[in-house]
Amino acid sequence: MKKYVATFLTVLWLASVVGAKTTSNVTRSGQRPTGQLLPMVINTWPFAVANEEAWRLLNLRKGGLGQTRNAVVGGISECEIQQCDKAVGYGGSPDERGDTSLDALLMDGSTMEVGAVADLRRIRSAIKVARHVLEHTGHVLLVGDAAADFANAMGFQNESLNTPESTKEWREWRDTKNCQPNYWRNVFPDPKSSCGPYEPLPSWDADANRDVETEIGPDNHDTITMVAIDEESNIHVGTSTNGLRYTMPGRVGDAPIPGASSYADNEVGAAVTTGDGDTLMRFLPSLLAVEAMRAGKTPAEAVEFVLQRIRKHVERFQGAVIAVDRLGTYAVACHGFEYQGFRFSYMVSSPAQQSRKETIVCTQALEKTNSEIYRKVIW
């Protein structure tokens, strides 16, 4: 009798250990148990205002039917107006010349149509301009001054995107920090110690690894990317950002590129990302995540797969991926974000939970890469 009791207890204990391990896996990827999952809204970073507004718009109709586009545009617009973390909208992330420019994207999962703008100046409502590109042109992406002209034609007013605050920040960078950090390489004078203007050095080391730790401080390079799904699994995704700080003017990151910052396909689900745009956009992480789910992977497997692909080629980067399948199951994974304590937060709303903030732990690069040590020797 005692023997049976003992074995029974051991089995119970083993089961609880195994159970704990799997729960911790689940916690890491952010998957939550069942309940009614749709309609839902999920967005990167703890930008509660955006999530609340999107959720409100989604619920103007029962089940959120037909409201996903309005929800994404309305929610992200809130962040542009309120300058979420100074990483979205006007008055943040001045470029090398002190100007703020905006990138945005909107994608419809039913037709796979996209509207996007990049390097948008003088217009504050970037995601709304992206919506106009989607609804009033046969194009996908408009860039630069011409995009601002298009916005004017669509009725948007010209307003400066610079604020005294962003201009002061830029002046400090230029005058007291020797224009550090910046994004130049293989130029003269040495971009690691002085401002421009620069001239190109003949590229004798064409394979100089780009894996240089550009000082990414707090509140730098956040992008709001958002997914909204209604009860019938109609999906919209959207992105808006003012890019990285002190970039070269005209730099476009992953935000306005379908498949890079966000992707949606009603048949499968959606994925959105945030992080080092220059790095992430070479790997098309949102498309990879959606393709992985199309091939039958769960959202949790999809996000791991995407980060592994990038880790293979780039040791140090910041990146977070959210994948949602068409039924509302979501998973999140991240890498880097040292300045956030290797943690990434995001907001979720669904019938079970309204505007709830969740946080996950990120994987991190273990040691300095050979290329970084090597690079010191060159200079």
């Binding site: 037909g66 994608m107 419809d108 039913s110 037709t111 796979m112 149509e113 996209v114 990049a118 390097d119 106009h132 609804e135 009033h136 042109t137 046969g138 194009h139 996908v140 992406l141 408009l142 860039v143 630069g144 001054d145 011409a146 002209d149 298009f150 034609a153 669509m154 009725g155 994004y183 130049w184 390489r185 293989n186 421009g196 620069y198 001239e199 190109p200 050095l201 590229s203 064409a206 394979d207 690894n209 780009r210 550009t214 070269m248 003017p249 005209g250 730099r251 476009v252 990151g253 379908p258 498949g259 890079a260 745009g277 220059d278 956009m281 070479r282 790997f283 098309l284 498309l287 080629h313």
Partner: protein, 402 residues
Amino acid sequence: MRTQLKGSLWVLCLASMAFSSLAVTTSSKPTLASAFGSKTTSPAVSDALKANKTSPGRSTPGELLPMVINTWNFTAANVLAWRILKQSKGGLRQTRNAVVEGCSKCEKLQCDRTVGYGGSPDESGETTLDAMVMDGSTLDVGAVAGLRRIKDAIKVARHVLEHTQHTMLVGDAASAFANAMGFESESLVTPESKDMWLQWTAENCQPNFWWNVYPDPKVSCGPYKPRPTPLTRWKEDRARNEYEIGRKNHDTIGMIAIDVESNIHAGTSTNGARHKIPGRVGDSPIPGAGAYADNEVGAAVATGDGDVMMRFLPALLAVEAMRLGKPPAEAAEVGLRRILKHYKDFMGAVIAVDRLGNYAAACYGLEEFPFIVSSPVSPDKPTRLETVKCIAGPEKVNIVPL
């Protein structure tokens, strides 16, 4: 003693049989084609492939590397790239130069008036350029889009790759960067492109890329104001055949160069869609859409109706398909078939090459798609024009407007 002898004799016999059969198999060298070609294709697919091809656009046994392949009948570009590739034995470390100089040649020659200055004027009559170059070893990319007043777009893209940590620069700011790198500003408008534009404005600006605006963009020029888009019209079928996309419109030079060690570079250059809304950027400068390269797998380039194709990332889909073991012929079709699910009236073509130099092309919306390939397979005529028959031609694709 006798039984021992008998036993050892038997063993010797069996052993010699085994060795001789081994010798037979090892003496025949496995060809590259058999390693990556038909074995992995199911019979149905290989039949379909045979039916679709007018000439062997697939791998032929023999030396496949180094190689250069590019979209359309742009021979001069390919010849120059091949010559550069041969400047070092096996083309080692010359793939970037080959791709950049090859595409540059088309920019100078204004290939088909769809690459380089003096072609595809936008709505305001100006020509703007898009280009990119991708390094398959680091998956590093340099790209420019909406580049104004600078002729050498792919060379500027190379500077973005080598002298910045960014991936893409756009617009006027990209031109300023080009100036800083030593490129001169000059007008990209020629009398010919100006004529193209004047004629278009005289013909009521048809066709154009506006929707849901007033005045009706189907009958008049702008400027336009937006009409609110009712929910019911979001999924309206919009026929793209009216844009007359095909040769002379929407061509891009997309080029892939591979050396004997399977180092790959891919690049594109174009002046975009004719009469586009100013600032429009298509698929060409977008990694994954216009081109993609990964030394571990291979590379792909795409050309055609960029506004449709860039939403489906056909170059990345092709490389991912090859990564999963599909042969280049299937990989090239993956993106096109994906688009077909949503659109029946687009024009597009994809070239896929695996890291060993096996290549294939697929297309839709044309009769045939031509491409140029250079490789050592025929030493006296290394550069050859090949064509592939499309999944469906234009007569099946044009929708009769109601």
